[in-house]
């Protein structure tokens, strides 16, 4: 601690050498500063207090149904917005502040100044709904007018901003709605087209496909069964045919119907011919019948021979009937074969169709889902639009009531600047500046104050130090130095006191000079 004090004293000693220059610096700072302080223009602050009442009777009803506009938030937004440029311009115009500014630069400065000087605040510790609006200006009347205008704007905008907000929201919703609608229609169309293109293949109907496949397959089975049978018959008949020779004399195992009829009719004829002559009508009839049957048989034979049965045209009635039967069977086989191939084809088709059925189902699902989604979006949006419209009308009924607690005040005393305080501050700054200057000067032109320091700086041994000789003359000189300096400093203080006492006169004087200079 002692060392600190010692070093401090050393610095003082060194700085003392520059005391008069330091004094000059102090005086300069003080004089300039004081003149500036006196040159500051008085400004007056006008205050108004406003209560924003957001309790309305409608609110509890609407709370669930509508998007209840958060009134406090919108007031906050307004508070921010009121400081915005367009609003300030409006205020400047309406209050006549614009008249003060001539050039664009001046206007800019004016608006910037307004931005600084307008204050809209809430006191968070007190009632949250209380707003304080204030403005500060050289002219107390103007300050009041500005606050009044701000107040009016505040009220207007709070009501209007929200309305505009909902209208904008509605417009937005409507636009979205139109967009969605067109998309929905497109989606619907796609779905319809798809359904049309895939009629009968829709998921609900595909059960029949499988049934059809099933029945086709069953039918095929039957056909093939029949074919097998027919083949068997054919084989049997062919065997029979091979066993039977082409002449009449042979055992007729199998006889066709026609042959049987012919044989019967011949027997009947023989019977008749025993009793009657060939002139009898029955005999004639019977003979023609037999002719017809023979004709039929002949036709069948030719048919058979035409149908390619081993070219065996013979007059063995049994053989002939077998041949007829054989040809019938062949026809049957051909027919069945035809049926079979048709059936197989059908089955193939069905199978093919069935393969793509899942894809169709998937696609259908997708299209349907797409449509559903769009549809529900659309519905939702539609609902929101309805809600917004509803709340808008609700709001128009809802009163955001403002109550002016304190109207804009007309200040009679300037609220700034606090000249006395500023003068004192300037004094301190001046003294401090002078002190700092002297210390700085000491640092820049240092001397040797004591042995330790000397040794440290030079690195040379110090033999010792010799005291100052305290002669009376020296003492007197010293005293003189100190007292003259103290006197100088005290004049500064005296000047300060004088200025404080004659604050108003000083202000007037300086400001008159300034306006005179500005006038030049």
């Amino acid at each position: 601690m002692n060392q600190v004090i010692e070093e401090f004293v050393t610095v003082l000693h060194g700085a003392w050498r520059f005391r008069w220059m330091a004094f000059l610096v102090s005086v300069l700072i003080c004089v300039v500063g004081w003149v500036v302080v006196f040159g500051l223009v008085d400004r007056y602050r006008s205050n108004a207090t406003v209560f924003v009442d957001t309790n309305s009777s409608l609110r509890p009803l609407l709370d669930d149904l509508t998007v209840a506009p958060d009134v406090m938030r919108q007031v906050d937004l307004v508070r921010q917005a009121l400081g915005g440029r367009p609003q300030l311009e409006r205020v400047a115009r309406e209050t006549g502040l614009y008249l003060r500014a001539g050039t664009t630069i001046e206007t800019e400065r004016l608006l910037a100044r307004m931005n600084n000087d307008v204050s809209i605040t809430t006191n968070p510790r007190r009632e949250r709904n209380l707003f304080e609006i204030s403005f500060i200006d050289q002219d107390p009347k103007m300050a009041q007018t500005v606050v009044q205008t701000l107040l009016n704007l505040f009220v207007e905008d709070s009501l209007g901003a929200n309305k505009q907000g909902t209208q904008q929201a509605q417009k937005f919703l409507r636009d979205q709605l139109a967009l969605l609608e067109s998309e929905l229609i497109k989606s619907e169309q796609e779905l319809a087209n798809f359904k049309k293109a895939n009629v009968g293949r829709m998921p609900g109907e595909t059960g029949s496909y499988f049934d059809r496949l099933q029945s086709e397959m069953t039918a095929l089975e039957n056909i093939e069964g029949d074919m097998r049978l027919a083949e068997k018959r054919k084989a049997a008949l062919q065997d029979q045919l091979a066993g039977e020779n082409t002449s009449l004399d042979g055992n007729a195992a199998l006889q066709t119907e026609v042959d049987v009829q012919i044989a019967e009719n011949r027997r009947r004829l023989a019977d008749l011919q025993l009793r009657f002559t060939d002139m009898h009508p029955d005999v004639i009839a019977l003979k023609s019948t037999i002719e017809q049957l023979e004709e039929q048989k002949k036709n069948e034979l030719t048919q058979l021979s035409q149908s390619g049965v081993a070219g065996m045209v013979s007059d063995n009635p049994v053989f002939q009937s077998i041949q007829i039967e054989l040809s019938k069977v062949n026809v049957e086989i051909a027919t069945l074969s035809e049926k079979r191939s048709t059936s197989i084809r059908k089955i193939g088709e069905l199978r093919g169709l069935i393969d793509i059925l899942p894809e169709i189902e998937a696609e259908l699902t997708r299209l349907t889902r797409d449509y559903d989604v769009k549809h529900s979006q659309y519905q939702a949006l539609l609902q929101r639009l309805e809600v917004a419209e509803l709340s808008e009308s609700a709001e128009e009924n809802e009163n955001i009531r403002f109550k002016i607690i304190d109207p804009p005040s007309l200040p009679d005393k300037p609220s700034e600047p606090n000249r006395r305080l500023l003068l004192a501050i300037i004094l301190l700054v001046g003294l401090g500046g002078g002190g700092a200057f002297s210390i700085l000067a000491n640092q820049l032109k240092p001397v040797f104050s004591d042995i330790r320091q000397t040794r440290r700086v030079l690195g040379l041994p110090v033999l010792g130090s010799v005291s100052v000789m305290e002669t009376r003359e020296r003492k007197i000189r010293r005293a003189g130095q100190i007292s003259s300096f103290v006197f100088g400093i005290s004049t500064l203080f005296v000047l300060f006191v004088v200025l404080v006492l004659f604050e108003d006169a000083g202000t007037e004087f300086i400001q008159r000079i300034f306006s005179g200079i500005r006038g030049i």
Binding site: N2, I5, E6, V9, T10, H13, G14, W16, R17, K445, P446, V447, F448, S449, D450, I451, R452, T454, R455, V457, L458, G459, L460, P461, V462, L463, G464, S465, V466, S467, V468, M469, E470, T471, R472, E473, R474
Partner: protein
């Protein structure tokens, strides 16, 4: 002799007129002081050295501000006791920088007004008290000649004459004083080539002679300021020890450093801080355990 009579008159009037303490305490610059000291011849001259004699008047010195006021005599006397010790040690052959010239000590400073003359005189007076040593105080500050003035030796032959005239020897110019152990060599006749003379070989020879003559002799040179003149560093180079005087809270650090740079580093250079005052623990510090006392201590 009229000069002497004037001086005597002045002295007597000064003494009688010095009633109030105001007179005594008045500090005058050295220039203002005229011949205030008696000059005479001493029948009992020392060992054939010289037959020229000067009486040292302490009161006058005090009035000139070259001696401490009576109230501080002891204090300052003690301070010089401390200061002279390392110088003497080295001169006697103790310590690191021992050389043949260790008994040649120059008292120099960076600028004028730092207290060279004061220091030279007081150091000389302090060393004169030594039992084993005697002092020769040489006024080598040829431009200003403080010491010569103060002791009233302005017109006397001195160093310059010694340098110019090879036929002269030290004994021809050295003056005895009434202070036992103290002798003075004045500056001598002014010469426009004083600088060159001081820088000449002759000076070297003279210095060597003075040094070798008596091993117990301590020769103290008062020199011109190191920064103001060119002969000061030259003079310093002939010396065995250099004492730089700094005026506390006055001499700028820059000046001292510049002056130091003009000197040869191999020399034994020491500092004396003049007119240092104040400080809460100063008295303690200055008296006890001052680590700067010995030349070998560089801490």
């Amino acid at each position: 002799m009229s000069k002497i009579q004037d001086a005597l008159k002045k002295l007597q009037s000064a003494k009688s007129g010095a009633g109030g303490r105001g007179e005594e305490d008045r500090i005058r610059t050295v220039e203002q002081v005229g011949a205030i000291v008696e000059i005479g011849t001493d029948p009992n001259s020392f060992a054939g050295m010289s037959d020229r004699f000067v009486a040292v008047d302490r009161d006058s010195l005090r009035m000139a501000g070259l001696l401490a006021p009576e109230a501080q005599q002891t204090e300052i006397g003690n301070q010089y006791r401390l200061i002279k010790r390392p110088l003497l040690n080295l001169a006697r052959g103790k310590g690191a920088h021992v050389s043949a010239d260790s008994n040649l000590i120059v008292v120099a400073s960076a600028l004028s007004g730092d207290g060279k003359t004061f220091t030279a005189i007081n150091l000389a007076l302090s060393i004169a008290l030594e039992k084993d040593n005697n002092v020769l105080l040489v006024d080598a500050d040829v431009p200003k000649r403080h010491i010569s003035s103060v002791f009233g030796l302005k017109g006397e032959r001195g160093l310059i004459d010694l340098l110019k005239n090879k036929s002269l020897g030290p004994q021809d110019v050295i003056m005895e004083t009434d202070v036992p152990g103290l002798r003075i060599l004045p500056a001598g006749e002014p010469d426009e080539f004083a600088t060159e003379l001081l820088a000449s070989q002759r000076m070297r020879t003279v210095a060597r002679k003075l040094s070798d003559d008596d091993p117990n002799r301590i020769i103290i040179f008062d020199s011109p300021p190191l920064l103001a003149t060119s002969e000061a560093p030259v003079l310093a180079s002939l010396m065995g020890q250099i004492v730089i005087v700094i005026k506390a809270n006055h001499t700028p650090q820059r000046a001292v450093i510049e002056a130091y740079e003009k000197l040869e580093r191999e020399k034994a250079i020491n500092i004396v801080l003049n007119q240092a005052g104040g400080g809460l623990t100063y008295g303690y510090y200055g008296y006890y355990g001052n680590p700067g006392t010995y030349p070998n201590d560089n801490s």
